[in-house]
Symmetry: C2
Subunit: 153 residues, 2 copies
């Protein structure tokens, strides 16, 4: 149920190029395509590989602004947390949302077109939710490192 060096190499290469041909992957590792195929199938079955996806350029798609928001909730009813989580999952602008330990409750990462779009989303969606006590928005000025691959090596 655990993986060896070859498996890690497969994952590493596949994380960088999810569409690489099995034969080339096999060549690069030094095993037959059949073996690599079996290993990959196992890695998928055991949940190491959850899927494949195209990496899209957000700016090209008109999503020029990346923002992070710290959200504090009223802790009066536990229902508030559930409702917030559901709202966030239904909002396509929100790419990530994490419950954190520390000074605030949720950290939200979102992509929108510009500041105007963000103001609209913040006012009409986030602040409209019941239980949202306070938010702090941090606009990203420069993406120093973007979506690096997981360290599998």
């Amino acid at each position: 149920m655990d993986i060896d060096t070859i498996d890690r190499k497969i994952l590493s290469i596949l994380q960088g190029d999810g569409r690489i041909a099995n034969v080339e992957l096999a060549e690069r590792i030094g095993l037959s395509p059949t073996s690599i195929g079996e290993r990959l199938k196992r890695l998928q079955r055991d949940g190491f590989v959850e899927g494949y996806g195209a990496r899209l350029n957000p700016h090209r798609l008109g999503l020029g602004l990346l923002v992070f928001v710290e959200v504090m909730l009223d802790k009066t009813t536990p229902d508030v947390f559930e409702r917030f989580a559901r709202a966030v999952q239904n909002a396509p602008e929100v790419l990530e949302c994490h419950m954190v330990a520390g000074g605030f409750d949720y950290l939200v990462k979102a992509r929108v077109a510009d500041m105007a779009a963000w103001r609209r989303f913040l006012g009409e969606r986030l602040l409209a939710l019941p239980g949202v006590r306070e938010t702090r928005t941090y606009a990203v000025m420069e993406e120093v490192k973007r979506d690096a691959p997981l360290p599998v090596g």
Copy 2:
């Protein structure tokens, strides 16, 4: 140089399943595989699709802890920023790093095995950098929404 509804549908499907066969993609959209192939090639050439990658499960790989860190730098020399950026890019634990406008300078997202590993990384790597004045670590307790696809629709 801009894209239509069909292109968006291609991007949307491909973002969810980057390994889908061209023929099935064509079927699902209602065009011939050739046309889809031509469109896809154009989308790649024009930078809408930057690549493909396998989605790996971080927990399976022993990366059980997700943390966000707010970093404040001494603004004495401009060299400090460059050096910090470079260090962060070379650190495999760091998945993202953004320069933000607001109360602090950088927001760092990192994945490590556990709190012990994080303490080690924080002490030996981050705080060892010259110019790092203050850091605030927020450990993620629950990932409410994880790496959602970009809204292309």
